[in-house]
């Protein structure tokens, strides 16, 4: 059993959890994730490890409540335990000193972006970060991201914070103002990553993305998480979740995320009657 040591609310439906899991904390590298299962009949869901505290033997997860499992987690209290935390899984982010790095995070994708940005900065890169969300209250981890970045730009669709517009507008502005980047890391909803990649490809900036396909085991056994990268089929849980964004077939990823949409809706309706509105917020192909 893995105990919940701390929980706090970061935004509407967005919570930070710290679980005791000392082996995972010790061996984890930025970019890796865990599989979480919260009770005996629970689903196995993948969540990025946002941070670790080796001394405390704990890992931090930042989770947006979008469906049955994540909503149930939102009800958990400090001291509660869950039966499964498997990890760290996936290939770590490739961290290297390349020069100037552009980190782009959208919504809950800022959670996995944070460890990557910090590692890139620690490796001696100049880090410019752009955080985007629909509205100000959905921008998470702004303070931590500010520490991990040399420059930080915030964009909101409705203009409630930072620049009004999309992250792609902000990228274009930077480049128009003569900024150059050797590497981009983009994490967020598939639709956002898709458009960031279309732009960075035009601009000639190599781009890493972190994909969020549906998973079951997370160990390479089922192939549920397969994604097309270039002309190869990869298993995101083993080969990824990070890939060369210019080669990823985002349309396929977004389609596949909808596989269980009607079942998920049913499960959710069974679980809580007021939750229908939340389901709408997760459209456009998955939560992050």
């Amino acid at each position: 059993m893995y105990q919940l040591l701390h929980k706090e609310k970061l935004g509407p439906d967005i919570f930070l959890y710290r679980f005791r899991a000392s082996d995972i904390a010790r061996y984890r590298k930025p970019g890796q994730f865990v599989i979480v299962r919260i009770h005996e009949n629970g689903e196995r869901i993948p969540i990025t490890i946002a941070d670790v505290d080796i001394e405390e033997g704990s890992i931090t997860l930042i989770i947006q409540a979008v469906g049955k499992t994540t909503l149930q987690m939102a009800q958990m209290k400090k001291g509660d335990s869950i039966p499964t935390l498997t990890g760290p899984l996936g290939e770590p982010t490739h961290i290297e000193k390349v020069g100037r790095v552009l980190c782009v995070g959208g919504g809950i994708g800022i959670a996995p972006l944070y460890p990557a940005a910090r590692a890139m900065k620690d490796a001696g890169n100049h880090v410019t970060s752009i955080l985007g969300a629909r509205s100000s209250n959905l921008i998470i981890l702004a303070d931590l991201m500010r520490e991990a970045s040399d420059d930080l730009i915030i964009t909101t669709d409705d203009g409630t914070e930072g620049q009004k517009g999309l992250v792609t507008d902000a990228i274009r502005n930077l480049v128009d103002n003569g900024e150059e980047f050797d590497q981009c890391i983009a994490m967020g909803p598939p639709i956002m990553m898709k458009f960031v990649c279309i732009l960075t490809e035009k601009l000639g900036i190599p781009t890493i993305v972190s994909l969020n396909p549906i998973m079951v085991d997370g160990t390479g056994m089922c192939g549920c998480c397969r994604v097309t990268v270039g002309d190869e089929v990869k298993f995101a849980c083993i080969d990824g979740p990070e890939f060369d964004g210019h080669k990823v077939d985002f349309d396929e990823l977004m389609a596949r995320l909808a596989t269980y949409r009607s079942e998920e809706k049913n499960a959710l309706e069974g679980y809580s009657s007021h939750a229908g509105c939340r389901l709408d917020s997760m459209s456009e192909g998955g939560s992050r």
Binding site: N41, G87, T219, M221, E263
Partner: protein
């Protein structure tokens, strides 16, 4: 009763759930023998002086020995005899391909010129194992002095469980690291409930726990803990990580929604209890018409599971003929009884989707049998121009699994074959790394439960010798000489 009279007794059928009824539940299909049935079936064994049946059993159970005890009504004794050699009889009795193993060699089958009429060794084995479990008595194995040696077992499938049980009995401390949240490997995530009830697997795992095996779940070795660290921290290591890598057909449209691997389908249905959705949280693809591609046990399991998940039609599409299907006869028979349709000598070449990206059909080409290939089976050859579209809402790819690459990939010192199996000494299970042994599907590729157990058994003996002697070189010859004393 003399041998002639015994030979005249027809095989005792095991009662089964009615096919019409059973497709709407998950209960086991064969219902088991009553004590009277078992004793009657036991009478059919003529207690051969040279019991060829034993040769056919990969773990060498004293078959006439335990059958005689059943005939005499000494079920406790029979159970004890069987467990000398087989730690997991309730499972083997159910899932061994007996008609290719013990029962293939049985004298009675030969006399009656039909291996299906051999002594029903597997059914008797199942009866005894079930009887024994239902007694609920726990027999503590004779206590042995602790050796002070620590062993890590990676993977809790039949191979790993066997090694763990044997080594604990030799007095070593054993920790089993399992990637998933339950022990049993394919027995829990792959083979469906209606063929192998999960409570049986659980009771075997409970037994191992009671005799001192420690289980660490949610540990993906090579990720959660580096393989190197496990090798350094323990006196010996056994790798039994199975053949968990699903193969796909590599045809267009394979990533459409509604197309999944057998592993995914069965894992959702079994381990994650999707049959109980939304009580259990994991959903599963439910088609009205489901195609399963493949002809092995795995394909039969998928096609039969699809019926239980509510499919109106469940089709097997297989590129060879029925005689060449690798599935057990019993599975094929059960599948047919339940209404699974067999579309033989056909092969999907392309999958077609609708505008939402869901599969709506498979383009299938007809095949004919040509010259024999390297496996000795006549090779299926496509008939040009015979393509047609088979409509479907879901398609399950059950064309095989390869060795799980996770541990070998993260531990380059380990020698592997071209197709990814770990290279071992066949007698001892020794790998290219001193102190590290391997067995089961990670060595053989997708094989059988009993072969995995046989591997585990042999490796356990070699590991025990290695742990006590520290001898790595020529372990196999040392083992041969001391076989009697070790066993």
């Amino acid at each position: 009763m003399n041998a002639k009279e015994r030979m005249k007794i027809p095989p005792v059928d095991m009662p089964e759930q009615d096919p019409k009824e059973r497709v709407s539940n998950l209960d086991e299909v064969p219902l088991g023998y009553t004590p009277e049935m078992a004793m009657m079936e036991a009478k059919r064994c003529i207690q051969c002086k040279t019991a060829f049946c034993i040769e056919g059993c990969p773990v060498g159970i004293d078959i006439p020995g335990f059958i005689k005890l059943i005939e005499d009504g000494d079920f406790k004794g029979a159970a004890r005899k069987m467990k000398e050699r087989n730690l997991l009889p309730a499972m083997c009795g159910r899932v061994c391909p007996q008609e290719e193993q013990c029962q293939l060699f049985c004298t009675i089958g030969k006399v009656r010129k039909n291996p299906c009429e051999s002594v029903m060794i597997g059914k008797l084995e199942r009866f005894i194992a079930d009887w024994d479990r239902e007694q609920g008595e726990f027999e503590q194995p004779p206590s042995v002095k602790s050796s002070g040696r620590r062993v890590a077992v990676i993977g809790a499938g039949p191979a790993g469980l066997t090694v763990a049980g044997d080594l604990v009995k030799f007095g070593h401390e054993v920790i089993v690291f399992e990637a998933l949240h339950k022990a049993g490997g394919v027995l829990v995530y792959g083979i469906p409930e209606f063929r192998l009830p999960k409570k049986i697997v659980q009771s075997e795992v409970d037994y191992l726990e009671k005799i001192g095996v420690e289980f660490r779940y949610d540990h993906v070795i090579g990720k959660t803990i580096p393989v190197r660290k496990i090798v350094d921290d323990f006196d010996a290591v056994f790798i039994g990580t199975g053949a968990g890598l699903p193969r796909f057909m590599r045809v267009d449209g394979e990533n459409l929604l509604g197309v999944l691997s057998a592993n995914e389908y069965l894992t959702r249905a079994n381990l994650m209890k999707a049959y109980d959705f939304p009580e259990a949280d994991t959903p599963i693809v439910k088609g009205k018409k489901v195609i399963t591609v493949g002809g092995g046990n795995v394909a039969m399991d998928c096609a039969r599971t699809a019926l239980r998940m509510g499919a109106e039609r469940s089709l097997i599409v297989y590129r060879r003929a029925e005689e060449q299907m690798p599935a057990r006869l019993e599975e094929i028979h059960h599948a047919k009884e339940e209404g699974v349709e067999f579309h033989l000598l056909q092969n999907p070449v392309r999958l077609v989707g609708d505008d939402r990206g869901w599969i709506k059909g498979a383009e299938v080409i007809k095949m004919e049998l040509g010259e024999p290939d390297s496996s000795g089976r006549r090779r299926p050859v496509p008939i040009e121009g015979s393509e047609f579209i088979e409509n479907t809402d879901a398609l399950i790819v059950a064309i095989g699994n390869s060795p799980n690459p996770l541990v070998p990939n993260s531990f380059p010192d380990l020698e592997v074959t071209r197709w990814g199996g770990i290279v071992v000494n066949e007698i001892t299970g020794q790998t290219s790394v001193p102190g590290v042994f391997a067995g089961g599907d990670i060595v053989l590729g997708a094989a059988t439960v009993i072969l995995a157990m046989g591997h585990g058994r042999r490796a356990a003996r070699a590991m025990n010798l290695y742990l006590s002697s520290g001898r790595w070189v020529d372990l196999d010859s040392a083992l041969d000489l001391s076989r009697a004393e070790v066993h």
